[in-house]
């Protein structure tokens, strides 16, 4: 399992997608290879996929620290903790100065599970931004 097998699968899906979403994949070069997965109609919020020894990590950026209304930061944290369990398959996290939601799967996962993960992560992302926009500037 690597990002290329995932990319090939998603690019070949076309209308055979199980989730009703269409994916466009672009590998990003670097020390760790990352796959940028654009979902048709939601290109502004891509999902980034990387594969480590034992897990497949899918990450979507929500917003940067600079977008957060600092007076409501604590309330935002509480909401994130409260939503963490109800939100299916994804969790909140912070990388550097960016808030993200992510999902981690075993490298043994099959392609349909990865497809579902990506679709749920993207849905979660849109819903989270919509719900939490009050905490932003």
């Amino acid at each position: 399992m690597n990002i290329h097998t995932i990319a090939n699968h998603l690019n070949d899906l076309c209308d055979k997608s199980h989730t009703g979403l269409q994916f466009d994949c672009y590998p990003i070069d670097g020390e760790v290879e990352v796959l940028q997965v654009n979902i048709v109609g939601r290109e502004e919020i891509p999902v980034f996929v990387s594969v480590t020894e034992n897990q497949v990590l899918c990450i979507s950026y929500l917003w940067g620290e600079d977008e957060v209304n600092q007076d409501r930061r604590l309330a935002m944290f509480e909401t994130m903790l409260e939503l963490n369990i109800p939100m299916p398959l994804s969790s909140f996290a912070k990388i550097d100065d960016k808030y993200v939601i992510y999902g981690a799967l075993s490298v043994q996962s099959d392609m349909q599970e990865i497809e579902l993960e990506l679709s749920v992560l993207s849905d979660n992302c849109l819903e989270v931004i919509d719900e939490m926009v009050d905490y932003l500037k």
């Binding site: 990003i28 670097g30 502004e44 919020i45 926009v133």
Partner: protein, 228 residues
């Protein structure tokens, strides 16, 4: 103190900057070597355990055999005594005493094997537990580093291209606007389809001569003839 603490310390110390590692590559390699050593110990301990457990089973069977033999000979001795054959009884008693000694030796050996097996089982459990924990810690370090490197790849990629990550509000608005447009188009297409299906029904009715009739040349000619 676990690896989590090291990771947090590195974060707080600003080690999240590109190129800086949580734990230097050398200590990761040492850690991986420790894991391999622990795995080797575990394999050896498991092999030894199998060996000791086999010996324990063997000793246990021998103990059973000796116990059976002793009780058998005790029967013989009793019978000899009943027949007042003191000499034979004495001979059997000597045999029993010899068997007793053997039994004591076997039981002691058995107890030793059992104790040894228990010690090895504890060791295996402890090593397995430690190995799982080492692997968990190594996975944490590797994942953290991988995410940092992945983030660096993403950042570089967006810095070098015309596309960029928009802020959350704008992104959502654009996606919603596009979705609305799509929905509107879908509604429009449905309306159009409805109108078309109305039209086809209308055509069928006309064909059957029901409803408003179209004027045609024949009808005009008929009308003119009728005026005559």
């Amino acid at each position: 103190m676990g690896i989590l603490n090291k990771i947090l310390t590195a974060f707080r110390g600003g080690a999240t900057e590109v190129g800086q590692s949580i734990v230097d590559a050398n200590s990761t390699r040492i850690f991986e070597q420790e894991i391999r050593d622990a795995e080797n110990h575990l394999t050896k301990a498991k092999r030894e355990l199998t060996d000791v457990m086999a010996k324990e089973m063997q000793a246990s069977r021998e103990v059973d055999r000796l116990k059976r033999s002793i009780s058998e000979h005790e029967g013989y001795a009793t019978q000899a005594l009943e027949k007042e054959n003191e000499t034979l009884a004495m001979e059997v008693a000597e045999k029993i005493s010899q068997l007793d000694q053997e039994l004591a030796e076997q039981e002691s050996a058995n107890a030793n094997f059992t104790a040894h097996a228990t010690r090895l089982k504890d060791l295996v459990r402890k090593t397995e537990r430690q190995l799982t924990d080492y692997q968990r810690q190594l996975s944490m370090v590797k994942t953290t580093e991988s995410v940092q490197k992945a983030t660096a790849s993403i950042t570089d990629s967006f810095a070098g291209s015309s596309s960029k990550l928009l802020n959350a509000k704008d992104s959502l608005e654009r996606i919603k606007a596009r979705q609305q447009q799509f929905d509107d188009r879908l509604v429009a297409a449905e309306q159009l389809a409805d109108e078309n299906s109305d039209k086809s029904l209308h055509d069928k009715l006309a064909e059957a001569g029901i409803g408003e009739q179209k004027s045609n040349a024949n009808a005009v000619l008929d009308r003119l003839k009728a005026r005559k």
